[in-house]
Amino acid sequence: MIPSAFEYEVASSVGETIDMLGRYDDAKILAGGHSLLPLMKLRLAQPSALIDIGRISDLSYVRDAGEEVAIGAGTCHEDVHFDSLLTEHCPIVAHTAGEVGDPQVRHRGTIGGSLCHADPAADLPTVLRTLDAQLVIEGPDGQRMVAAADFFKSLFETDLGPHEVLTEIRVRKLKGAGWSYQKFHPRAQDWAVVGVAVVERDGGAAVGLTSMGETPLRATGVEEALASGEQPADAARRATEGTSPPSDPLGSGEYRKAMVVVFTQRALEEALSR
């Protein structure tokens, strides 16, 4: 539980962060640190430098952007959870932020950190993928937007370049659409054995899955079934299509496949009854 030696720099702006990232071969951005530091303590991650963006207050906000809500990447889960704009316009995001880890984690960990870490067992990436969120990225060549669907590449791998910073997450206002996030986790502090996000939309629902593959997934089979008018219980049976869940001490792949059906049905029933 002792990390390798590393350099540590505090950035005061996004621009400075990008400069600092350019100065090291293998620097990592430190936001809340609640995923990165444990990996460093186990020496599974050995970055040469940490660029601490935790003091850039400009990255912590939730604001109304017309049809969308914009969330600063440095906003901690606790602030997302209790934010009134999100509670009103995109309650699934506020709700799910309250399901992450434990109170200590939620006070330090950030929404941007959770996305960039890209752990397929994490809750918020699934919800943002289900919402078709847009991510704002800044780098040496300026700003670009990427859809959540294109952001997650593989296990712990994203579209983010080595010298880029995720600065903002934009989600469409739900306008009263039903939603649910079902997190199945035997202990309060556990990662999801499986998680299912559902957001109602015209002619059906968008459905996202946690811990069912190398990235947060969309359950397109379930979405199709709903679009063709199937009932939730029947549609949920297609939740395993295209999944490749891991087997680990928290649950076998077979069990995860069974549970994703159970919790997809529950999520659909809850979302459609809201």
Binding site: M1, I2, S4, A5, L42, R43, F184, P186, R187, A188, Q189, D190, W191, V193, D248, P249, L250, G251, S252, Y255, A258, M259, V262, F263
Partner: protein, 793 residues
Amino acid sequence: MAQTAQRTQAQKYVGGGVLRKEDPELVTGQATYTDDITLPGMLWVMFVRSPFAHAKINSIDLAAAKRKPGVVAAFSGTELAADFGDGLPCAWPVTEDIKMPRHPPLATDVVRYAGEPVAVVIAESRGQAKDASEAVEVDYDALDAVVDLEQASADGATLVHDEFDSNNSYTWTLATGEVDKIFSEAPVIVKERYLQPRLIPNAIEPRGVVVQPVPAQDEYTMWSATQVPHVLKTMLALVLGFHESKLRVIAPEVGGGFGSKLQVYNEEVVVLALAKRTGRSLKWVEERSENYLATHHGRGQIQDIELAAEEDGKLLAVRAKITADMGAYMRLVTPGIPLLGGFLYSGVYDAKAYSFECTGVFTNLPPTDAYRGAGRPEATYAIERAMDALARRVNKDPAQVRRLNFIAPFDEPFESAAGLQIDSGNYSVSLDKALETIGYDKLRAEQEQRRQSTDRMQIGIGISTYIEMCGLAPSQVLASLRYAAGGWEAATIRCHPTGKVTVVTGTSPHGQGHETSWSQIVADELGVSFDDVEVLHGDTAVSPLGMDSYGSRSLSVGGVAVHYAAQKVLAKAKKITAHEFEASEEDIEFRDGKMQVKGAPDKAKSVPEIAFSAWTAHNLPEGMEPGLEENYVFDPPNFTFPSGAHVCAVEIDTESGQTYVREYVAVDDCGTVINPIIVEGQVHGGIAQGIAEAQYEEAVFDENGTLLTSNMGYYRIPSAAELPSFTTDRTTTPSTTNPLGVKGVGEAGTIAAPPAFINSVIDALAPFGVTHIDKPATPERIWTAINDAKGDE
């Protein structure tokens, strides 16, 4: 055997909810743990551990490590081998023909479990030592690892130790009555197999060692996060050939042990040996992931239990056969742990005959040893689950079958089927109380209703009526079990001329609250203020004589020693008082906290006043030694036998297997209670740990012996969020083994809870036809059991 204390004194503190005097220091962060100790010029030690469960060491190259920044020295096991005498000790060779391999503190030619240390690095800082440890190059040839316990025990298995012809180290047996005859004639036989997964002890404070040498004097002070400073000192002196009086062992504040710090560890021996070699102060503190590999594990058994009974469920005989996982080596008391349960497989039930057989087996896994309850949770689990199986077999309610079989209430020693002389007990009263408290009939009615409506959420009720044996004593009985040490405990009471009192105890608390409880006993017995009593412990220079803390022994042996020492103080005080008032001793009585002449309350002296007289020594009886200080070493005449009834109600989501403990009621009988707040804390923590074992915890290895549950993310320990508020109550049947009537309570919850929980799960799943589930009953296991049972239909 019962002895009556001179209790003319009013009980002011004993039995009251006195707040723990230890806590202000602990909760404000002012306490000193081993990791808080920093010495001038101190260096850090880091161990290099084998990634293989079984491998031949071809070579160890330290050159790159020695070149790393800050590195002072590095050694392979071979280089240090000569320092370690006969190797690490095992003090419990349970049979004459036990196979007991040499246990080197650092492996030299073969590693036998993943995590076994093979080399050591010393550096200026902890980080430098860690970096250097990763630069040590060890060339291994992997060998087949023996991981499965049954396969390890079978003929032709790969050998963990080449020098033996089998992995079976010993077989220990106990039998009373005509077991085979009863089994051949009994109308009902229940035959069950249960597994006890390995558990990883998770004390909040990991282990740690600091050694300060005085090279010119060849003197050493060791601070260690240990439960057993006295045992450790003696064993270290034996292993390393040190003069015992040149070694001082201090257990500062210790943040939990649960048996895992009842050990003489590789790291303690190696760091001490290195301090001698280097003449430098050294420190090692365990990493959490190291804790998972290098601290001994608990449990690890296959249990075959059979009950012979009448048609109505009346128990006739119990036969238990245990295969116990020793791991790769015999640690301090490894072989004896399963035998501590060997007398308890008939539980609180009256049987005519009993047999127990245990075979200890080597595997390529970390050694096992004491873990909260040590042998007794395993035994209780087996008999309590088997009693439920018997109830199912004869189609009766589990409470009814238990009542039918309870040993009738007794307050004179009763000889159990296994030959124990149980001090006192009243088992039905605990069960009645527990069932009433939880609302058993109402729960059963709700359960029936949910079954009728095939509700997704089913409920189950599980009962565990348990007994344990505590105190690990008397010494002669320990000798007959081939245990190498005694079961006594020492106490000193020193009455200062200022009126203050110092109590020195040989027990070594690591969270139990001895400072508070011992102060309560002494304050009442000597008529002094609770705040005027200071309790010293855990330093072999302060309390030279002691047997330390484990096995719920501290109060029932150490606390009783304190009581006897107080009685000796009073006896001397009485002589001094009689002399001063020119009265005969018979005319002096200890009353209202004072020694007084009978019928003349103005002629009275308090113990502090007498202590002053004894200190000035101006006017003492002819030939009396000055001072008021007494020692007592108590060797108890028997074990104590706490008991009780626990009832658990669970709610199970039958689609996912997710299980919620809805209610949990514990009615414990730990004899006389000194401090109800402390007892409550022990019971709560014990139940939590017992439910953890039954619902969450299991050390899982792959077929190569690699630990898969290698961190707290995968090795699941529940938090407060997963547990309900427990309802606790007590019955009090004073022990007849000691004059305080105390029995011990440190392990009760851990012993009682696992079968209560598992029985409740099986009960909930009865409508599906489920009759068995292994620990831990994880959601996936429950889901699988339901599916398998459906498939069988």
